[in-house]
């Protein structure tokens, strides 16, 4: 699959502070089109803050964020239209069915009812939940709910999927399923993904990795190129955290 145009995500010199607490400091990296980039960091490294800034939940103190070439601060509508987000916490309404939830999220992107119906079938098939459209979200397993969140994030056909600890709280099998779905989407749909995690085992050798610690990028590159330095470096950071 040929990918043209600006990177799916381009972050340059990004800093953010919550009052006196510096949460991010001069963070810079890119997510090329069609790539899977793992954002690796222990709890409190700044991953969720970074996701919040990319999604415009709040503005950064300094630096720029570009989604598919669109400045998130100056062109927020254009940037957000190209972004699909899976948040760490559950965002689906447990009392509603999967289809009702997805219809709502399609509406939030201005997708009409008829078009939404077709897309819902499409994305549910992609995440292997085609038979669960009429089920209440509360009746789905943890893994199914995470896949449903991915389906929600895909509805408006984003260019970049942003997944913040998408496998948190899942068992091994469900984690593998969710990871496989995302990698499958990259291979078949041409989307890009920024996968924020604290679990080293979720990183494949061919993945690009950005290691974030205490708000700073400590390591970056292809996992296989970083080799031992990645695992040793991350283990050292984990130990430092502990």
């Amino acid at each position: 699959m040929i990918h043209e145009g600006p990177p799916a995500l381009d972050i340059a010199d990004l800093s953010h502070a919550f009052g006196p607490v510096q949460a991010l400091r001069d963070v810079s990296f890119t997510v090329p089109r069609g790539a899977f980039v793992a954002l690796l960091g222990v709890n409190g490294a700044g991953k969720t803050t970074l996701v919040s800034l990319i999604t415009r939940l709040y503005d950064s103190t300094s630096g720029t964020i570009r989604v598919a070439g669109f400045d998130a601060r100056r062109q927020p509508g254009e940037a957000l239209a190209r972004l699909g987000v899976v948040f760490q916490s559950r965002a689906l309404d447990a009392d509603l069915t999967l289809r009702q939830n997805l219809r709502y999220h399609a509406a939030l992107h201005g997708i009409g009812r008829r078009e939404a119906a077709a897309r819902i079938d499409e994305v549910l098939a992609l995440v292997r939940l085609g038979d669960k459209a009429g089920a209440r979200v509360s009746t789905l397993s943890g893994g199914q709910q995470r896949r449903a969140e991915i389906a929600r994030a895909l509805l408006h056909r984003p260019e970049l999927l942003l997944l913040d600890e998408a496998t948190a709280g899942l068992d091994l099998r469900s984690r593998a399923e969710v990871g496989a779905v995302v990698r499958d989407l990259i291979a078949t749909q041409g989307v890009s993904a920024l996968w924020a995690t604290h679990m080293m085992e979720e990183v494949a050798p061919e993945d690009r990795v950005v290691v974030l610690h205490r708000g700073e990028v400590r390591l970056s590159g292809r996992a296989s190129d970083l080799g031992g330095s990645l695992s040793q470096g991350f283990l050292a950071l984990t130990g430092e955290q502990a």
Partner: protein, 284 residues
């Protein structure tokens, strides 16, 4: 795990698709449909919203009928029973509680993450918040009409056209009280803090108003309390509804409720702005 090969999703028709007028209408309809669905799934919320004013009407008003004598008060043309007097106040009470309930659900949504999905929509934030506000008001209007229907069987029968005339008043009043709830939700950090809203917002607003007693009677007992009640925008919500229900228009109430609605909504949008307000300076 080997994934089956599937054809790519059909591409979007154009970049930034769906954000034209039709897109805005779709988004508004979607937000409203969700509020109505959520409300339909929460039968106890509907019952609570209905039982609360009915208790006031059936027990409190009936009990105080003999104690609280009322002279002829605008917009009424003659002496009215106390139950008749408090009914508009109880309609506004439903909207006050509904506004705060919406606020509570927004704080809950923020804690669970559902709020984030709303705010990462490509539509402007003022539009998203406004749509949520209007959706909540529509739900509150359904509750008010259900209450007025029961009140009709209890003998409280405003002019038939009053039921139609009160609709815009209910809408404006609901917007003002919902916008206040929206503003409060932006300032509350945790769900646990919501009890304070009951003590510091709902009760003072309701009791220091003309919902239960007319302004002249308040002035008889305490001029200061009467001034506070007059400055209370909830008083003007009550009067706007009361006058409309009896086919009259209260320009002062209209001006105050409209002004307060603009003020509260503007403050809420400011507070939810990513670069301003509390959201800019705190970690959630």
């Amino acid at each position: 795990m080997t994934a089956p090969q599937r054809p790519p999703l059909r591409p979007a028709s154009r970049p930034g698709h769906g954000l034209g007028l039709a897109g805005y209408l779709t988004a508004f309809a979607g937000i409203t449909a969700r509020e109505v669905l959520r409300f339909a799934h929460q039968r106890e919320r509907f019952l609570a919203a209905l039982v609360r004013p009915l208790v006031w009407l059936f027990i409190f008003a009936a009990g105080f009928r003999a104690v609280l004598g009322l002279s002829i008060t605008e917009p009424y043309q003659t002496y009215v029973l106390y139950e008749v007097y408090v009914t508009p106040g109880l309609c506004a009470m439903i909207q006050l509680f509904n506004g705060m309930q919406s606020s509570l659900s927004m704080v809950y949504d923020r804690e669970t993450g559902a709020m984030r999905t709303l705010l990462v929509s490509p539509f402007p934030r003022w539009f998203l918040l406004g749509s949520k506000l209007v959706a909540g008001v529509l739900v509150s209007i359904l509750q008010v009409y259900a209450f007025l229907l029961i009140a009709w069987f209890w003998g409280i029968r405003p002019p038939p056209l009053g039921y139609l005339a009160v609709l815009p008043a209910l809408f404006l009043s609901g917007i003002m009280l919902g916008a206040l709830g929206l503003f409060i939700s932006s300032a509350i950090r945790q769900l646990e803090n919501f009890a304070g809203v009951m003590n510091f917002v709902i009760f003072p607003m309701f009791f220091a108003s003309t919902a239960l007693y007319p302004l002249w009677r308040l002035r008889d007992s305490s001029p200061l309390l009467a001034d506070i009640a007059f400055a209370n925008p909830f008083t003007h919500s009550v009067e706007l509804i009361r006058f409309a229900l009896y086919l009259r228009f209260d320009p002062v109430a209209f001006a105050v409720v409209s002004g307060a609605a603009i003020l509260f909504f503007g403050a809420a949008v400011f507070m939810y702005d990513p670069s301003k307000g509390l959201w800019a300076s705190r970690k959630r």
